[in-house]
């Protein structure tokens, strides 16, 4: 009950007067703001859970905040299983708590034909989003289709279009930018949106070029849910609604820039409301001006935790501690492994040092949150010191009172489309799975390119450089030499990052036998271990099917690396089969049944 909407007074983004949108929440009227997500509208009222789990009736709300974890499901207009973090409110929406599994009660959304009318119209030439009624429709065709409009995807789309290709740029969000350049909704009327962003001017330039480019068709609020060869299956419309248009786009070349989501490691209480991924806290702050709490602890590893703390401070939260799990020795040694990479980033860290000092945020190395306490919400956490291998040091535990916890232990790439496209995977610099690419960012599947975090976690600069190379190559142009060099430099940075902020195996000691490992199916650590031990299954589908870990709506996105590490090798890599998701995002059966293409 501690999340809140930052007061408009004094907001550095200088927001305009909100446009009221009348909705109901469990029948009670609520005035939301145009552009708010359902989650933000609920969090604005101080309410942070709106679903209970099927088995144990545990309360749940936002967890990942970016559409990956499927924890924030809610009923909208009678349709259950709608991600509150992805759905924008529309006037008249009837939002309802989702208690366990629920059957749909509406046959059609109230304004099916107006679906998407509140979104900015797609720019560029006439795209695939056309009539729904034509039967035996032919798939649309594009020279290059780019999936994902974050730093990598935007760069790829521009490079390909500048190279003469007709480009379709597809993203699930309403606006380009991805997680890194998350924008405020246009309805918020921010006059100084750039104050919330790093590198805003450069981004605005690229954003506006994408919007105005004659060869780029932007498909917003669109998800690729399946890939057949170089044919992409797209659904377009408000997140998770019934009646979205489903259509095919045939690409001559494909650039996958699907990004990554936060990795979180389980400990007792990590599934309590009030525990969020660091990315969720940042998305809510930067994108919706919501603070997840008033007294917040940020824990995990890596430099990404610093901008998260910055975003939280920007919405008025008190960041009581910033906990870096790696010891200062590990971090320092990691950075010093490549002296050519370090200096630029040291300057950046000085800026954050000033921020921490100004807001008196203690940054503590070699410590993390090993338990969260509370009944229906986080009230306190236990913090422990960790050794170099991340094992908690006995006797070092201390308790701090907080009302929100933000966690980020690196990232996991969104690999399902690459796996569907049969791209070979390898182990990325951070030990997680990554797509194999050549010097042109082409994967092992001819015509399929990959850029950004899914080729190895390396941050926005590397992602953008890879995007430029991939976009040019996909348009059959020679990449600019400077970009190729930027990629090489960026990869060195990624390698240093992984050495400075490794995830050590000691985290496996944080959880207890009864700690939930798979949030969707509420499978405990003991149950996973029992399935492996008693049934003699080590990994892959058989382990999933005998333990149920990874069989829920998020399809193992949150837990598969954890499960793989708990029962299998000391290596934290998930088995490839756990990323095999031929249906990449849920599709309503009616929309699938009514696919119009002549196949």
């Amino acid at each position: 009950m501690t999340a809140y909407l930052r007061p408009r007074d004094g907001d550095p983004a200088d927001l305009g007067t909100p446009t009221p949108v009348e909705i109901t929440v469990d029948v009670e009227p609520l005035t939301a703001h145009a552009g708010q997500t359902v989650a933000a509208a609920l969090l604005s009222t101080g309410r942070d859970t709106w679903r209970t789990t099927r088995a144990a009736a545990r309360p749940r709300g936002i967890f990942c905040g970016i559409g990956a974890c499927q924890d924030c499901l809610v009923i909208v207009n009678g349709t259950p299983d709608i991600r509150a973090c992805q759905r924008t409110v529309q006037a008249g929406d009837a939002v309802a708590t989702q208690l366990g599994a629920v059957l749909p009660t509406s046959t059609q959304p109230p304004n099916a034909d107006a679906a998407g009318s509140a979104t900015p119209p797609p720019t560029g030439s006439a795209g695939p989003a056309s009539s729904h009624s034509t039967s035996n429709r032919r798939p649309q065709v594009a020279d290059v289709v780019v999936v994902g409009a974050g730093p990598a995807g935007v760069a790829a789309a521009l490079a390909a279009a500048d190279g003469g290709a007709r480009v379709v740029l597809i993203d699930a969000a309403r606006a380009v930018g991805g997680q890194f350049n998350r924008q405020l909704p246009v309805e918020f009327g921010a006059r100084r949106a750039g104050r919330l962003q790093h590198g805003w001017k450069g981004f605005v330039g690229r954003r506006d070029r994408v919007a105005g480019h004659e060869r780029i068709t932007q498909l917003a609020e669109s998800s690729v849910w399946a890939i057949e060869g170089l044919r992409l299956w797209v659904q377009k419309g408000p997140a998770d609604s019934v009646g979205r248009e489903v259509f095919a786009v045939d690409a001559k070349a494909l650039v996958l820039a699907t990004g990554a989501y936060d990795r979180v490691l389980p400990f007792p209480g990590w599934d309590l409301p009030g525990v969020y991924t660091a990315g969720a806290a940042q998305a809510l702050a930067k994108g919706q001006r919501i603070s997840v709490g008033r007294r917040v602890v940020v824990a995990g590893t890596g430099p990404f935790l610093l901008p998260v703390a910055e975003s939280l401070v920007g919405v008025g939260a008190e960041v009581v501690e910033l906990l870096e799990a790696n010891t200062l020795r590990t971090v320092r040694r990691g950075w010093l492994t490549d002296p050519l990479v370090a200096p630029g980033k040291f300057r950046e860290s000085l800026g954050y040092g000033a921020l921490l000092a100004k807001h008196r945020i203690p940054l503590r190395h070699g410590q993390t949150v090993v338990a969260a306490h509370g009944t229906d919400h986080v009230e306190a956490v236990t913090v422990a010191r960790l050794d170099d291998g991340w094992r908690p040091i006995a006797g070092s535990e201390r308790r701090i009172e907080v009302d929100a916890v933000c966690l980020g232990f690196g990232f996991t790439a969104q690999l399902e489309l690459a796996v569907s496209a049969r791209c070979n995977l390898t182990t990325g610099p951070d030990g997680g799975p990554a797509v194999v690419v050549d010097a042109n960012q082409e994967t092992t599947t001819p015509g399929v390119f990959a850029a950004g975090e899914l080729t190895g976690i390396g941050g926005a600069d590397l992602a953008a450089a890879e995007g430029r190379v991939a976009g040019a190559a996909a348009a059959r142009q020679v990449a600019v030499q400077e970009d190729v060099e930027s990629v090489q430099k960026g990869r060195r940075f990624a390698a240093v990052l992984a050495r400075a902020y490794p995830v050590r195996d000691g985290w496996r000691e944080w959880s207890k036998p009864d700690t939930v490992v798979c949030r969707c199916e509420e499978v405990t650590r003991a149950e996973v271990e029992a399935a492996a031990a008693e049934r003699g299954v080590q990994d892959g589908r058989a382990l999933k099917l005998s333990s149920r870990a990874g069989l829920g709506l998020c399809q193992g996105r949150v837990c598969s690396r954890t499960v793989g590490a708990l029962v299998g090798s000391p290596e934290s890599t998930a088995p490839e089969s756990s990323m095999k998701r031929p249906i990449a995002v849920p599709v309503r059966l009616r929309d699938l049944a009514e696919v119009q293409e002549d196949l």
Binding site: T107, A248, R535, R541
Partner: protein, 387 residues
């Protein structure tokens, strides 16, 4: 000391059929070693629905095997070690409905009743009592109380646990490459990528890959893969109580057409998901997703249960099912190679037929009187022996 003595039988394939054969053999005191190039229940078994059906079979040898196996399931379940005994077994019964001319389904059910199947013709009103969310277009239904369901990975791994408890061994990640024979031509071992394993007999339980392995073993049989895809919905509250089929299911099973066939099978699982099957395609071992297939499955499921239209499908999975050209399982010794046995070709019915298959193999292996006529399933029938 279990595992140290030379096994009597090496079972190649740790799927449902291999597990059931190993379990039955070990229950009879035979020393078994199960090997799999992957792990337990990792192939076809992990890609199925767990159907134990008598409803979908025409009178004939397969139906006789299915009826025997349905009874044998109770025996096998009672033998499972307690710690793994929960295999999500449900005797939920099947409901087959027609939405067009009611007569063919009634006639089909009448023939099945003569063969000993409990098949009760029901009115649309009775069908809605059994399944309140069914389409109002139902013209007639048949209720099959003996149809059951099991979670196939739980079942296969539980059977293998029973095997281990009796001193048998299960080895993952071992690929069988060939069989080794004596001068007289009798099987004396199996060659693997992990060395030669001496044994008295080799059982080919490789499912859809039984054809290639039989060729490697020098005794080729005709067993081919048929692709099947299943859609999985988000978890739902109780909404589909039985295994519910469109009456067109029966026609597709016995067919050899290569092109896509789908017929609706809708059922819920204990975890709340609804499984929507099932397609049949002869496209070799191609495992790429085909939206055409998914669309067809979705359309037919919504036709049977209109409420499903607003439900999200969260997952699709597919696998390969082994079939012989005459659509009968292949169970028994290979007359060309003494000591080589086959148990495969069950197509989409392997989970249901596994216990009787295991029992039959055991009876034939030990020279006991078989509980079903083995002749229709013998290896040396023209459809199976590749020339």
């Amino acid at each position: 000391m279990p595992g140290s003595a030379t096994p009597d039988v090496v079972v190649v394939g740790a799927g449902m059929i291999g597990a059931a054969c190993a379990e039955a053999l070990s229950a009879a005191g035979v020393r078994v070693l199960v090997i799999d190039r992957d792990g337990p229940a990792a192939g076809t078994t992990a890609a199925g629905e767990g159907n134990i059906l008598v409803s979908d079979k025409e009178p004939g040898p397969e139906l006789e095997l299915a009826i025997a196996s349905r009874a044998e399931w109770d025996v096998v379940l009672s033998r499972l070690p307690r710690r793994v005994a929960d295999v999500e077994w449900e005797t939920k019964g099947g409901v087959v409905v027609a939405t067009t001319d009611p007569e063919p389904l009634k006639a089909f059910a009448a023939k099945q009743r003569e063969a000993g199947v409990s098949a009760r013709v029901i009115t649309p009103a009775e069908a809605f009592q059994l399944e309140p969310l069914l389409t109002p277009r139902v013209t007639v239904g048949v209720h099959y109380p003996d149809d059951a369901q099991v979670q196939p990975v739980l079942a296969a791994t539980a059977l293998l646990t029973a095997v281990r408890d009796r001193g048998g061994e299960v080895r993952s990640g071992v690929t069988a490459r060939a069989v080794r024979r004596s001068a007289q031509g009798r099987v004396v071992g199996v060659e693997t990528d992990d060395g030669v394993i001496a044994c008295g007999a080799v059982l080919n339980a490789c499912g859809p890959w039984a054809g290639p392995f039989s060729a490697d073993a020098g005794a080729p049989i005709q067993v081919l893969p048929r692709r099947g895809m299943i859609l999985v919905t988000a978890p739902l509250p109780e909404c589909v109580r039985h295994k519910v089929y469109d009456a067109d299911y029966v026609g597709a099973v016995g067919s050899g057409d290569a092109e896509l066939q789908t017929s609706t099978v809708v059922e819920s699982t204990r975890s709340g998901t609804v499984l929507i099957g099932s397609s049949r395609e002869r496209i070799g071992f191609d495992d790429s997703v085909r939206v055409k297939v998914l669309r067809e499955l979705a359309a037919k499921a919504v036709g049977l249960f209109p409420f499903l239209g607003d439900v999200p499908v969260m997952r699709a999975y597919g696998g390969f099912r082994p079939y012989a050209p005459d659509h009968l399982p292949v169970i028994g010794p290979d007359p060309r190679t003494p000591g080589l046995w086959h148990a495969t070709g069950h197509e989409g019915a392997g989970i249901g037929l596994a216990p009787s298959t295991g029992r039959l193999v055991t009876e034939l292996f030990l020279g006991l009187a078989p509980h079903v006529d083995p002749d229709p399933f013998r290896v040396d029938r023209p459809a199976v022996l590749a020339s």
